[in-house]
């Protein structure tokens, strides 16, 4: 002890070790608090998100019945209304939207995958920006193009709006899917004497197919849940309409229009429709995920 205190180097070392140990303890305590806070954050984030799903399942399942899916809506105050017209309406509106947006988006994606110029860059950027544009403004565009010109609300105007929402998703995913096809495959086909068109059809397309399907599913999931573009285009209907040139009901519209009413019957309809919509959207998302992971496995 006395030797230690006399030796300046040894005493200095003991001093440093003492400070370091104290600092380490303090730093570790702080670190543990910080890490616990981060884990707490993920719990705080998940609680409301899980609650949304849980409530929708709980409330929605109560209103599900065969009649609920097979019947038409009843006037407010009379119970027993169904959403058959909304289901059919959503199918028609989204099918028309997808029929237009999928081929167009695929062609634009193909164009972007092959071109690297300034124009392609501009289109790519525009697609990114379009995907962030508020859906209500898309609805106004659809209103201006198809409602003011045809002088009445119609499902086709809704399809136009929904298609515009789907388009950037399809463009992005098509480009990515085509770009990730290994160049070796095309080169091998080229060395065997295949023409460009043959390579595109027989080599690139099959290899990119899972990615293309993924994008399509994601786009439909996105479009099917949108309500803002339908507010003043398809506008909703109490009746079963099949003509795309007539006003038409759709599931997101039904949730909105019935959900804000003070009648508990209509709120029940809104919950039931909400559950159906959530189930459809989640099934589409999960399927797209499975397709992607299968693609990943075959690559490796």
């Amino acid at each position: 002890m006395s030797v230690l205190s006399l030796d300046p180097i040894l005493s200095r070392r003991a001093e440093v070790q003492r400070i370091a140990e104290g600092s380490l303890r303090r730093r570790q305590r702080r670190s543990r608090i910080a890490l616990a806070l981060c884990v707490a954050c993920i719990l705080v984030a998940l609680v409301p998100l899980v609650a949304v799903v849980a409530y929708t399942v709980e409330r929605g399942a109560q209103s599900w019945s065969v009649d609920f899916f097979a019947h038409l809506p009843t006037p407010a105050g009379i119970s027993g209304g169904g959403i058959w017209n909304s289901i059919v309406g959503s199918l028609i509106i989204d099918a028309i939207a997808a029929a237009a947006a999928v081929p167009l988006g695929f062609l634009i994606g193909l164009f972007l995958a092959q071109a690297d110029g300034r124009i392609a860059g501009g289109i790519r950027f525009a697609a990114d920006v379009l995907s962030g544009v508020p859906s209500i403004t898309v609805g106004i565009f659809a209103y201006g193009v198809l409602v003011t010109t045809l002088h009445h609300f119609s499902a086709i105007a809704g399809s136009f709006g929904i298609g515009l929402i789907m388009l950037p998703v399809i463009i992005r995913s098509s480009e990515t899917a085509i770009r990730t096809v290994p160049v070796d495959l095309s080169e091998a086909a080229l060395s065997l004497g295949a023409k460009n068109a043959t390579i595109a059809r027989r080599v690139v397309l099959p290899a990119a197919l899972p990615g293309l399907v993924t994008g399509m599913l994601l786009a439909v999931a996105r479009g099917a849940g949108e309500s803002a573009p339908l507010l003043f285009t398809a506008i909703g209907s109490q009746y079963l309409t099949l003509s795309p040139f007539q006003p038409m009901a759709a599931m997101p519209l039904t949730i909105y229009l019935d959900g804000i009413q003070a009648f508990s019957d209509l709120q029940r309809v809104a919950w039931g429709t909400g559950l159906l919509l959530v189930v459809i959207v989640l099934l589409l998302s999960i399927t797209s995920r499975l397709v992607t992971s299968r693609l990943g496995r075959t690559r490796r």
Partner: protein, 296 residues
């Protein structure tokens, strides 16, 4: 043919902007800059000023981001660096799936479940904190500015978390290992190495989430109360740029009313496009995030 598809796309976008501007022109031509600074919105007297809705949009977005940024960052750190790998995959997948839930469902839940809870629990607590004055004054009715902000926070969280997680996970492992080798604790590594390294991408995630909050329509319309005037406290009802359009568009029979609503849409389009361009540039600068593509 491919270039033709590109042309169609460009034509669609140009048509989009031109159509909105043309439809909105009567309002801009008549009111000029006064449209943006005007505080009166009264279809009966024919006064249309958008300031209450611009302010309402900023207020709800601010509430949402104040809540979503810290929680989202913490959650993303946990998902990228702290939790065991299997938990990361499960929770990360769950968050991404929740991002796919339609906003109208969030709106329904907000109106029928969160609004009563806000009235009985959250608003009294907030009122107590502010001493029942200023932002914490007024009748506690559930729907209003605060609820709209809360719902927006919940809705942007999945986007925030998924993109931040990808950005944080992309921080090179040798940076982390280097800091650990120098004796830094895990908390220090996260705060001093991982977060600074990923800051451009994190800012991009925040900006992208802000863009979503600014433009979100249907959920906000369902919970904000739709009063076309300034909200005087957190509990007061109000309106945002998108909610006033959704709420009044179909009942706007007077041409100026319609043009004014579309003029608000033009303003909204300009603001969100600028925010999105900024976000894309920031996220792109750190390489393309998988979630950014999936969620965008």
């Amino acid at each position: 043919m491919l270039a033709g598809a590109g042309l169609v796309f460009v034509a669609l976008l140009v048509g989009f902007v031109v159509d909105l501007v043309v439809q909105a022109r009567p309002a801009f031509a008549h009111f000029g800059v006064g449209f943006i600074t005007g505080t009166q919105w009264n279809p009966v007297t024919g006064h249309y000023g958008a300031l209450p809705f611009i302010v309402g949009t900023l207020e709800t977005t601010l509430i949402a981001m104040v809540l979503a940024i810290p929680i989202g960052l913490g959650a993303a750190l946990a998902l990228s660096h702290l939790l065991p790998p299997r938990t990361r995959v499960v929770l990360g997948g769950a968050v991404e799936l929740l991002a796919a839930i339609p906003s109208v469902v969030y709106g329904l839940w907000g109106l029928l479940v969160l609004a009563p809870f806000t009235r009985s629990v959250i608003e009294p607590a907030v009122a107590f904190v502010f001493g029942h004055a200023g932002p914490g004054s007024g009748a506690e009715i559930g729907i209003g500015l605060l609820l709209a902000g809360l719902i927006l926070a919940i809705m942007v969280l999945p986007t925030m978390v998924a993109i931040s997680r990808d950005v944080l996970a992309a921080v090179p492992a040798d940076q982390v290992e280097g800091a650990l080798a120098l004796g830094a604790t895990r908390g220090q590594v996260l705060w001093r190495v991982v977060v600074p390294h990923a800051r451009a991408g994190l800012l991009g995630a925040v900006t992208l989430a802000t863009g979503r909050a600014l433009g979100e329509t249907i959920a906000v319309t369902m919970v904000i109360g739709n009063t076309p005037a300034f909200a005087h406290s957190l509990f007061d009802t109000g309106a945002t740029m998108s909610s006033i359009i959704a709420n009044q568009f179909t009942e706007a029979t007077e041409p100026f009313h319609l043009a004014s609503l579309i003029a608000i849409a033009v303003l909204l389009l300009v603001v969100t496009a600028l925010v999105n361009v900024a976000a894309r540039l920031l996220v792109r600068s750190v390489g393309r995030s998988r979630a950014a593509i999936a969620l965008a």
